[in-house]
């Protein structure tokens, strides 16, 4: 009940934030632009629409999660609204989870809206709704949930600008860390390999949620990959949230 109340209040805050609408507007522009790009392309036009569309949903969703998520907790502390909230009979972890779920709800609605436009544009070309595309969007959403948790974690102890920088770095590292896997295969056994394995285990691998290529080109994916990717997302999000709760629990609100 208390987490729900905070989540709904956070949702209200997010949907009254102009940044959200600005980003949504740009997503719509990008989706429409994919149609224009397709018209200029020789070959399979639908693939371009699918490719640009999924990339737009992923990119602007990530920006929404970071730009709104990094300000959520910080603003509460900076504007001192947290004073009245924490003095009420709620635990600090309930406050943090409420904030998290509020933003996740906002992102869910935004993702659904962006996907609807995307699916309609694809439908106009192919006259069918492809389940694979919806599955790719679902994994984009799982990635956004994880990014939200990361943004909230940084927001617990640093300013929105720094938190945004940290979160974008997390996103970039997450999408390039698979390179380490290739490096590991080429490294001879020894201390260097152990060190690299340690780093690879710690760093996020956000490519686990990337099923865009498979969706666009119709490549087969074993169901277990979907399962492991979803599990990875849930466990990683849980871990980041635990970390955020631990930091937030000990904070003095001066």
């Amino acid at each position: 009940m208390k987490i729900k109340a905070i989540a709904i209040n956070t949702f209200r805050e997010a949907i009254r934030d102009r940044v959200l609408y600005l980003l949504f507007f740009f997503t719509v522009v990008a989706l429409l632009f994919s149609r224009l790009l397709a018209m200029l392309t020789v070959g399979d036009r639908v693939k371009i629409i699918k490719d640009v569309g999924l990339a737009s949903i992923s990119l602007f969703g990530m920006l929404m999660a970071i730009l709104i998520g990094t300000g959520l907790v910080y603003k509460e502390i900076d504007k001192k609204t947290v004073f009245t909230l924490i003095s009420k009979p709620i635990q600090r972890w309930q406050f943090l989870l409420g904030k998290f779920f509020g933003l996740v709800l906002t992102l869910f609605i935004m993702t659904v809206l962006m996907s609807l436009i995307f699916i309609v544009i694809v439908f106009l070309h192919t006259s069918k709704i492809e389940g694979r595309l919806l599955l790719a969007v679902l994994f984009i959403f799982i990635e956004l949930v994880l990014i939200t948790a990361v943004a909230i974690l940084f927001s617990c102890f640093s300013t929105p600008i720094l938190s945004s920088l940290f979160s974008v770095s997390f996103y970039l590292i997450g999408h390039f860390s698979w390179g380490l896997e290739t490096l590991l295969l080429k490294t001879k056994p020894g201390p260097t390999k152990v060190l690299l394995q340690g780093i690879y285990a710690l760093l996020p691998d956000l490519e686990n949620f990337n099923f865009k290529t498979e969706a666009v080109y119709g490549l087969a994916v074993q169901p277990k990959f979907y399962f492991y990717s979803a599990l990875y997302g849930i466990v990683y999000t849980f871990f980041i949230l635990m970390l955020a709760v631990l930091i937030f629990k000990k904070r003095d609100f001066v």
Partner: protein, 305 residues
């Protein structure tokens, strides 16, 4: 009467600066607030009033000491269910309307929808904001924010209220209204801990006071015990005498037309003055004895420290 709030030996230090230096904010605070009283917590800026409140409310963690609310540890939810808090310079969710704002806080206490609606209506009426229930808080004036802040502090019908500068930013009429609300809350059996700089207000409504200076409580007790009944001087307005004739009896401060305003320091001079005025067929318009005020005590103690 049972203590609803008990603080013992509370201390808190912060590390400040690039090269951290420890600054002690609270140095062994002990106080006890009894049920049904209005407790005034006074101190100059930076004395540690708000820090004490923040420790009590679980916003910051004390280094040492014990805090109990209704006999429960201060961080327990049992204690928090029964308290209300209005922070100094309240900032609230400006994107919410007054009704949405109170509804949100009512939900945190698990109030059902029907009960919440009634509660919101009565609270808005109490603080005189029923006409602005649909207005976003970003459009509220400072005084209106203070009132809606008071309303949110009362949303759970608390037995113990913490009000940090509740009269700050209010016009004289608003101050009187908030003062009346506080007095009414006491009549309903609630306990109020009030931090304020406005000593006249504290003097008017508080039963007990504690004075904190540099993180230490230097005096506390019932207000009537702290303020002595001794007359400091008497202010007299009279006519029918010349300015110079009064110098031996007191300190003539100003003359306007026939009227002279005089400050008489010694009580025995009052009698001499009345005899003189009657003898000269003059007139005494007013005679006001001035006793020691809370402000006199407060200023004296702070200077001494």
């Amino acid at each position: 009467m049972a203590a609803v709030l008990r603080i013992e030996n509370l201390s808190k230090a912060f590390k400040l600066g690039f090269i951290p230096r420890t600054k002690e904010i609270l140095r062994g605070i002990s106080l006890s607030v009894d049920s049904g009283e209005i407790f005034g917590y006074l101190g100059p800026n930076g004395a540690g009033k708000t820090t004490t409140l923040k420790c009590v409310l679980g916003l910051i963690f004390p280094d040492n000491g014990l805090i109990e609310i209704f006999g429960h540890p201060h961080l327990s939810l049992e204690g928090k269910e029964r308290i209300g808090y209005l922070p100094e310079n309240p900032y609230f969710y400006e994107y919410l309307t007054a009704a949405e704002f109170l509804d949100f806080y009512a939900q945190l206490f698990g109030l059902r929808k029907k009960g919440r609606e009634e509660k919101i209506r009565s609270l808005l009426r109490l603080v005189g904001l029923e006409k602005t229930r649909g207005l976003q808080l970003r459009k509220f004036s400072r005084g209106m924010l203070q009132r809606i802040g008071l309303a949110q502090a009362l949303v759970n019908d608390p037995e113990l209220l913490f009000l940090d500068e509740p009269l700050g930013g209010l016009d004289p009429l608003g101050r009187k209204e908030v003062r009346d609300i506080i007095i009414r809350l006491r009549q309903e059996g609630k306990t109020v801990l009030l931090c304020s700089h406005i000593l006249q207000d504290i003097e008017m409504i508080c039963d007990h006071v504690a004075i904190i200076v540099s993180g230490k409580i230097i005096s506390q007790g019932a207000l009537q015990d702290l303020i002595s009944e001794k007359i400091l001087f008497t202010e007299v307005t009279l006519s029918g005498l010349a300015f110079d004739e009064l110098i031996s009896l007191g300190e003539p401060l100003w003359a306007r037309g026939e009227k002279i305003f005089l400050r008489v320091l010694h009580e025995e001079n009052i009698e001499k003055l009345t005899v003189l005025v009657h003898g000269r067929k003059g007139k005494i318009h007013s005679l006001v004895p001035r006793t020691e005020t809370l402000e006199d005590i407060f200023v004296g103690m702070v200077k001494q420290e």
